[in-house]
């Protein structure tokens, strides 16, 4: 933990509102985006944002110096978002447990289309919208695996720990999530090419 962060935490533990404010300002974007990616719902993301900081400040006295404040807040936010994600019922999710690679699938056009600069590709608003929407179709465990590993950049072991699952199960969920998202994207690129 950096000295400055240690000072901020110590002040916040003593009840200094400016220190608490600093903690919120430094971490709110991270928490909000994580919550938005996991829940795919702005209202739920706001609830996660509030609950995360309320819980963090309630238990700040238990925070051990030497740990990373960001990691600690991140864990609280992940737990909160995943709990909400699991509780929510939606009929629009796909079943990915049987999803496998189709060796006969022709991905030649999609492969060529994806050779370009990803930032340029993302100038296509419809593509961007579809990428976002596709994550929303993933069942909770697959979404958690994909968001934590491929977007948030957690190591597989850490992601499994955050998601409360085994490493083997997380790898399987991640694999299926990636295939599903890739297939959605490939279908869109093929369709755009044909039109």
């Amino acid at each position: 933990m950096l000295l400055r962060e240690a000072e901020i935490v110590a002040a916040a533990q003593a009840g200094d509102p400016r220190a608490r404010e600093r903690i919120v300002l430094d971490h709110q974007k991270m928490v909000y985006n994580l919550a938005l990616r996991l829940t795919r719902d702005p209202h739920e993301a706001e609830v996660v944002l509030q609950e995360t900081f309320l819980q963090a400040f309630r238990s700040l006295r238990r925070f051990r110096s030497g740990s990373s404040l960001k990691t600690w807040i991140y864990r609280i936010a992940t737990n909160e978002a995943l709990q909400r994600l699991r509780r929510r019922r939606s009929g629009k999710l796909v079943d990915l447990d049987e999803l496998e690679v189709d060796p006969a699938q022709d991905l030649s056009y999609a492969a060529r289309a994806l050779e370009g600069n990803p930032h340029q590709l993302l100038e296509d608003r419809e593509l961007k919208r579809r990428l976002e929407a596709a994550i929303g179709k993933l069942p909770p465990k697959h979404r958690a695996a994909f968001v934590l590993v491929d977007i948030e950049g957690l190591a597989l072991k850490d992601a499994a720990s955050h998601a409360g699952t085994t490493l083997a199960a997380l790898k399987s969920d991640l694999h299926r999530a990636r295939l599903f998202l890739r297939d959605r994207l490939a279908a869109y690129l093929e369709g755009r090419h044909r039109d």
Partner: protein, 97 residues
């Protein structure tokens, strides 16, 4: 796998389709990402990809998909959301500049 339909120019003679082999390679490629390039696993995958256009397309599209998701930028916290957060935490309002 149908290598006739696969992506990109053939770099060398393509081997006949081996669906089960390709499926296993790809499953491991996806699930075990993050291994060192010098590991036996990665050498095995690289060797297979050189001779299998279909798996090259599978790998390229997976990598391309992940790159697009990495490049999606995070959003700023909307002002109203940030204001309600501060209120819920009992923090003072921020004065507009």
């Amino acid at each position: 796998m149908d290598s006739k339909r696969a992506a990109g120019p053939a770099r060398r003679e393509e081997k006949p389709a081996q669906p089960e082999r390709c499926r296993e390679i790809l499953r491991r490629l996806c699930a075990e990402a993050g291994k060192r390039e010098s590991s036996p696993f990665c050498r095995e995958v690289a060797s297979h990809l050189k001779s299998c256009a279909s798996c090259r397309a599978q790998a390229a599209t997976l990598r391309g998909t992940l790159e697009l998701y990495w490049c999606l930028e995070g959003r700023e916290v909307p002002r109203a959301v940030a204001a309600r957060l501060r209120k819920s935490l009992g923090l003072p309002k921020i004065a507009c500049k």
